[in-house]
Amino acid sequence: MSQRIVVDPVTRIEGHLRIEVEVDSNNVIKDAWSSMTMWRGIEVILKGRDPRDAGLITQRFCGVCTYVHYEASIMACEDAFGIKPPTNARIIRNLIHGAQYVYDHIMHFYHLHGLDWVDIVSALSADPEKAVAIARKYCDEPYNCSATHYAAVQKRLKKFVDSGRLGPFANAYWGNPSYKLPPEANLVITSHYLDALEVSKTGAQMMAIFGGKNPHPQSLVVGGVTCVMDMLEAERIGQYLYRLKDLQRFVETAYIPDVLLAASYYKDEGLAHVGAGVKNYLTYGGFWLDDDGKNMLFPRGVVKGGDLSRVIPLDENKITEEVAHSWYTGSDALHPYEGKTEPSYTGLDKNNNLKGEEKYSWSKAPRYDGMPCEVGPLARMIVGYASGDPAIKKLVDGTLQAAGLPATALFSTLGRTAARAIETKLVADQIEGWVMELVQNIKAGDTRTWTRCDVPESGQGRGMTEAPRGALGHWIRIKNKVIENYQAVVPSTWNGSPRDRAGQRGPYEEALVGTKIANLDQPLEILRTIHSFDPCMACAVHIIDPRSDKVRAFKVL
């Protein structure tokens, strides 16, 4: 008999999201709905304001993906103003953005997503000596690896468990059969969960060196950057590089080996494509390597239907947003320049469930050429791989080989998680080169950080970049020197979108269909797949039984 299960809120994400799914009698998900349950109306608030203020305002979309909206908004203005930032400013933006990628991905894997793969309670029964041996299988000198340290971590965890007050670890799904790691592997990754708290602070400091603070840095302006004093001080560059080394070491000796370690036990899920989803992948391209954006670290393009042999060049005009199933008025598929944001909330049905056939989310449904598309690390690695980008191809092949998996294993929840780790290494290894490029440019006598500009009487522009969570675009229209219309299409809107006019599911929804849930009281598999996208909105998950309409109550462990 099929069941309806309610999980709300989905935790370890940013924001407020609700997902409902139907499961059949074999506990396999047959259908799913993704609903964002909060609207803040920032696009409406932007109208009538000075375009130069939009960057700092839109940065407040999100404090987890801090910086990225700031950059996208400033880029949209620069496009509308018809100017380009000087070389130094371009590089400094990459340095801030690069720091954001590395620490944010680390934090996502360990603090937001890792515990969908790792059973902390099981780590208590691990043999620390054996844990050392397991860690050394994936790295010659694993991060903070010794039997004494692992034993100390166990002791700390045990105190927590014995106190009966588990805090953030309370009431979770420990012992669920979908956890597949042996106790020693759980212990190794758990120990890095604790180390990663410190490491992500280091990354945040890197951002603050040129950004003024983290989260929400404050050193970008339309036309360039303001941190000219920091740029001209050798000591600042040294402080940045010193911290970069720490982060690189963590990526090399903890993050990558831990993902390989986990992959070796969850291999079957990758091979079975659990959580693959829509298999259309979209990137806007990110990290400008020259002043015109012709050469980018992440190539732009679209891969359709998981076809790795072909990359479709991105045509920006084919990006639209629909609101057929979203709590807004309108029925057309509109390009973001024409986009409207007029709320029309119709609520839940009488049983407090989403009206799946009608409007059911505050998220719009972005589509490319009418297709739902996944964005994010997996999309970047797949588009890069299919484009034949040598750096991306080498890293992807090398990592998958080490895990004993074919490239097609990328089309899965596990693949999404692995792709994030791979690109973390890719970015971390690029940053030092950018620093040297900056130093070289300053040495050559170029100390410019700003291109003089003023707000045009009217105009329009777009800023397209790659946030850690995926393709991010801001579209601005200016009239009488103020913002006339502003639309942002963010990664989690692409991934967490509801159905469109044609009834096509969004990527979260599609990725959940076909997944088997081991224990209906514990929606672990749903969380694992949803978290693999690194969602950035607050949410809730429902599992629906169309026949019995029974809401299954969760039991305390």
Partner: protein, 395 residues
């Protein structure tokens, strides 16, 4: 105070501090009895993280003075720090961006503040907790039941009040943020608003405020402590909780609910670029020669003169920088309605009419009047709800 004779002005202050000490001791004894036991031994944790007793002593001295307390309170601050992980905290998220939670996770290190935040007893926090859905709801209910009247409710995010609150729904029963906030704050010992969203509404409340978002105090009609900032400095949150642990009461506040010890002074007053302001040396446009020399950012829109906060003293991310150091200037994020009153952000406020025709100094003076006299304020005000210890000065 008023009862004291004029000639004993000095001893009046001493008397005040003695009273304060009595309260503090009574509260610490009360806390020892009432709070759940510590999950971790704080001293062991410090040692494990390589912090010596000397480091800790140094930190307690700094914190004691930062909280505007005399040196005799240093041992009490140490005791409060040891109790930190015993104080149950329920953390709610409403209309916000999670930047404040992120800021706390990034508290500077190696530093006692960051260790305190790592050992904080979070009974409910959606961004960090492992369980979801019903299990998460159970955690919240359990905390509200087990620690009724004892836990601190920390709120991140504003409350949309439009659509009868339905711009934000949460949990299996799809309650509105408003409903949830009412239920939880009613059971809390005190409510701390972290960040400008819960304090004053912030970005979602900027004009035209399409969701009618309000800060918690305005939305619920309750008294809150407002750790303003977008995001605020983690040190201000730690200090406020320590104050609660010391006195069973939240610290003295300014008229806007901000703790005086952290928000009593203007950014401008401790700004490293202040001498350039006084000398009339200004950055005229981004990246100019003046910018390279670190001159004053007033003319490119710095709102430091109108903004009350300790950013210029504490800085961010292990003190590595802050916006003015990065050459941008302050945007006034600890002040109510700053997106409107401080806009456009790259122009001085004086050019605008929002604050009337006043000159810079007049505005500054007017604002200072609101929050002056921080040092003597300790015995006067405290925002307490459901406080149990007896603080009356039994003679």
């Amino acid at each position: 105070m008023a009862k004291n004779k004029k000639s004993t002005g000095c001893s009046a202050v001493e008397q005040q501090y003695r009273d304060l000490m009595r309260r503090c001791k009574a509260n610490l004894e009360h806390a020892d009895r009432e709070l759940p036991p510590a999950r971790e031994n704080f001293k062991e944790t410090l040692a494990a993280r390589g912090l010596s007793r000397r480091d800790f002593l140094k930190w307690t001295s700094l914190t004691t003075t930062a909280l505007l307390l005399p040196p005799m309170f240093r041992p009490m601050v140490a005791k409060a720090a040891e109790n930190f992980s015993r104080l149950p905290v329920v953390w709610l998220h409403f209309a916000e961006c999670t930047g404040c939670s992120e800021a706390l996770l990034r508290a500077s290190y190696p530093n006692v503040d960051s260790i305190l935040l790592e050992t904080i007893s979070l009974e409910y926090h959606e961004t960090l907790m492992v369980c979801a859905g019903h299990q998460a709801e159970q955690c919240l209910e359990k905390a509200m039941h087990d620690f009724a009247g004892k836990f601190i409710c920390v709120i991140e995010g504003a409350l949309p009040t439009g659509l009868n609150g339905r711009y934000l729904t949460l949990g299996p029963k799809a309650k509105t943020g408003l409903e949830m906030a009412r239920e939880v704050t009613a059971k809390a010992a005190a409510t701390i608003c972290i960040g400008s969203c819960s304090s004053f509404g912030n970005v979602q409340a900027a004009k035209p405020n399409p969701t009618d978002a309000l800060g918690i105090s305005d939305a619920l009609g309750i008294k809150t402590v407002n750790i303003a900032g977008c995001p605020p400095n983690p040190a201000n949150f730690v200090g406020t909780l320590l104050h609660f642990l010391l006195f069973g009461a939240l610290p003295p506040l300014d008229a806007l609910g901000r703790p005086l010890w952290a928000y009593g002074k203007r950014i401008h007053d401790f700004c490293e670029r202040r001498p350039h302001y006084d000398a009339g040396e200004y950055v005229e446009e981004w990246g100019d020669e003046a910018a390279k020399k670190g001159w004053c950012l007033y003319k490119v829109g710095c709102k430091g003169p109108y903004t009350f906060a300790n950013c210029s003293k504490v800085r961010y991310n292990d003190g590595i920088s802050w916006p003015v150091m990065a050459g941008h200037g302050c945007i006034g994020c600890t002040e109510p309605a700053f997106w409107d009153s401080m806009a456009p952000l790259e122009k001085p406020v004086a050019e605008k009419t929002v604050l009337g025709e006043h000159t810079l100094d007049k505005i500054a003076l007017g604002l200072v009047g609101v929050t002056a006299a921080g040092i003597a304020a300790h015995a006067i005000a405290s925002a307490v709800k459901g406080q149990k210890p007896d603080y009356s000065d039994k003679k």
